[in-house]
């Protein structure tokens, strides 16, 4: 198990490098730059700015300069906001974004797993149909529309919850954004869980377990859930990264002080430093999540450990 974990960590390194490279060059392909505004800057100022951020050097040199700094743990400066760098952004915005994404993740995963199991056990009965409806809504309605609708109903018409904004420590302000984030995630998880649970309940080994007279509860708890979790677990890593990136948009809609606000602005401004830094941060999170998922996978399915 330990050597398996070690091998997995090693194999993540080249993937990280490739991803950084791709992000770096794709970003430069986009037209415009950090200093193109509605009002053109004087040529000397522009030249100085470009020199300051090494933008006057050949692209390949810039790339190696960037990698060099990255290896020292420096994600780079903002090219638009003076004196502000990616580390500042992470320090200010990331705790909030992470809290929100994680609470959405935990809530959605628990609800999704339970709903999926209940639906599988009651296949083609009313709990199953209710779930299918909720899943459809979660998957089909995009988060910006869902956010607007919830703001309208619960924030404006009913007045139960604040429609947006942030007051430190207020849970009420988190309810709607977390719901918008969590719903599609819970929907996907419950659908996966329902499918794999139905499959597992039809396997020969579940029939064996029933033939032993273990009782349906023990059959489910010991024999069905663990193997049924496999496809769900493989979704959890990417799922959490969807939540983290999805929260960028949701933060913007609800006016919350996470990374999202800065990131969206930076992308519009072609702020290479912030966009690349944030993207790379997310990439590392996703790699780490996938690693964790692989390790959980190895625990759930003993066959994986030997590959």
């Amino acid at each position: 198990m330990l050597s398996y974990a070690f091998r997995r960590v090693l194999s993540a390194i080249p993937i990280a490098l490739i991803a950084v490279t791709i992000c770096f060059f794709i970003l430069r392909l986009a037209p415009g730059g950090p200093f193109d505004g509605e009002r053109a800057l004087p040529p000397t100022v522009l030249a100085n700015l470009r020199a300051h951020y090494n933008l006057d050097q050949p692209l390949i040199t810039q790339y190696f300069l960037y990698i060099g700094r990255l290896l020292q743990g420096d994600l780079g400066p903002s090219m638009v906001i003076d004196g502000f760098n990616v580390s500042d952004l992470i320090r200010i915005g990331f705790p909030f974004t992470l809290t929100m994404a994680l609470s959405a993740f935990v809530i959605a995963t628990v609800i999704g797993l339970l709903a999926g199991m209940i639906a599988a056990v009651n296949q083609n009965k009313w709990p199953d149909y209710i779930l299918v409806l909720a899943v459809m809504l979660g998957v089909v309605v995009p988060n910006f529309l869902m956010a607007a609708l919830l703001q309208l109903w619960f924030g404006v018409y009913l007045g139960w919850l604040p429609a947006g904004g942030w007051v430190t420590g207020s849970i009420a302000h988190l309810v709607l954004p977390v719901t918008v984030l969590a719903w599609p995630h819970a929907a996907r998880i419950s659908r996966l869980m329902r499918g794999s649970m139905i499959e597992v309940l039809g396997t020969n080994y579940v029939r064996t377990a029933r033939s032993k007279g273990l009782g349906e509860r023990l059959v489910l708890a010991r024999h069905a859930i663990k193997p049924a979790l496999l496809p769900v677990v493989s979704y959890l890593g990417p799922g959490l990264s969807y939540l983290l990136t999805g929260s960028l948009a949701v933060e913007q809609i609800f006016g919350l002080p996470g990374i999202g606000k800065y990131f969206v602005q930076a992308a519009l401004n072609r702020d290479y430093g912030i966009v690349l830094g944030t993207t790379i941060l997310y990439m590392f999170i996703i790699l780490a999540l996938n690693l964790i998922v692989d390790l959980i996978y190895a625990w759930l399915d003993p066959k994986v450990r030997y590959r």
Partner: protein, 329 residues
């Protein structure tokens, strides 16, 4: 002899969208203490479904009627929670495919020990110790070490031994083995049959072997029941049925088996296909394929009745003349 299992008028139907399939029709048989009964028939003859229904393991769209008396309790229609106190303890089952019948994510000892924890009230440690002893009994080398293995670390034969150990942990009155050797190598098959014989003798367990392999029947069974189209068509002692079959279907089965002492020629299969269980033919289900079929067979269904008054052998056939296979074109 005492009857351990008495099945009366057992029927199994599966509901489909528009129709229903009658997999087992009014089956009657009994099982004596300590005997080995072979249930023989081709695919779709209802032999597996009959026993799955007794175990309460039918697919969701299946329903059972009739009686299956284990002592004085009827297993058919019993509440699942009550049935769970009986299955695994008094009546156990082994399935065809050992590769998929064990849970891949649980250690072998966990899967064995839980039976004893549930039915015998053992604590975990005691149960695991007994499980290891049982593994040794079914001929698994280094049982203490193998108990900690996962199913995928074992061969098919080894897994089937584990299944046998699991089924016999509580020394059940009845062991149902559904094609227990079909998925195994021929050499392993023989070992497995020996093991069945020895262990069921030791525990006084009655054995039901569901199979389409007449070699298996000849090797272990005392009595056999031949099934066709969801009904029993002939029952009796193995020797009697092998040397003097009284139903054309039994005769056909025997003729379509390769024989080691004969020259290898083309086998003589039973012509035609098994009947659709949705639309069984009128009269005797076997009539479209039967070389001895006459008018009455097309109109009336022959009941399963003693071949001679007072005989324990039964057949469901109107034809009383000599059964010689030369008659088939």
């Amino acid at each position: 002899m005492t009857k351990v299992l008495d099945v009366q008028d057992l029927s199994v139907t599966f509901a489909l969208h528009e129709s229903e399939v009658r997999a087992v029709n009014n089956l009657n048989f009994s099982l004596e203490a300590g005997e080995t009964l072979a249930v023989v028939g081709e695919s779709g003859s209802g032999k597996s479904q009959a026993f799955l229904s007794i175990m309460g393991l039918l697919a969701k769209n299946g329903s059972t009627s009739g009686k299956a008396m284990l002592g004085d309790v009827n297993l058919v229609g019993m509440e699942k929670s009550k049935l769970d106190r009986i299955r695994g303890k008094d009546i156990a089952m082994i399935f065809q495919d050992p590769m998929t019948s064990l849970n891949p994510s649980l250690k072998v000892k966990t899967q064995l020990a839980e039976v004893l924890v549930k039915h015998r009230g053992f604590d975990q440690r005691q149960a695991e110790k007994t499980a290891v002893e049982m593994l040794e009994r079914v001929g698994i080398p280094e049982p203490a070490k193998r108990a900690n293995a996962y199913p995928h670390e074992m061969s098919g034969g080894m897994r089937q031994r584990v299944m046998i150990a699991m089924a016999l942990l509580c020394q059940p009155k009845i062991l149902i083995a559904d094609e227990p050797t079909t998925a195994l190598d021929v050499t392993v098959q023989a070992q497995m049959l020996d093991l069945f014989k020895t262990l069921t003798d030791d525990f006084g367990t009655s054995l039901v072997i569901i199979t389409h392999d007449l070699g298996v029947v000849a090797g272990v069974a005392d009595r056999m029941m031949v099934m066709y189209g969801g009904r029993a068509v002939e029952t009796g002692n193995v020797d009697e049925l092998f040397y003097d079959p009284r139903h054309p279907y039994t005769l056909g089965l025997l003729h379509s088996t390769p024989h080691i002492a004969k020259r290898a020629e083309r086998l003589d299969p039973i012509q035609g296909l098994p009947p659709s269980l949705e639309h069984l033919p009128k009269g005797c289900s076997f009539n479209p394929r039967c070389a001895f079929c006459f008018d009455r067979c097309l109109e009336e269904r022959p009941p399963l009745a003693p071949v001679e008054p007072g005989s324990t052998r039964q057949k469901a056939c109107f034809y009383e003349g000599p059964l010689k296979y030369g008659k088939v074109a």
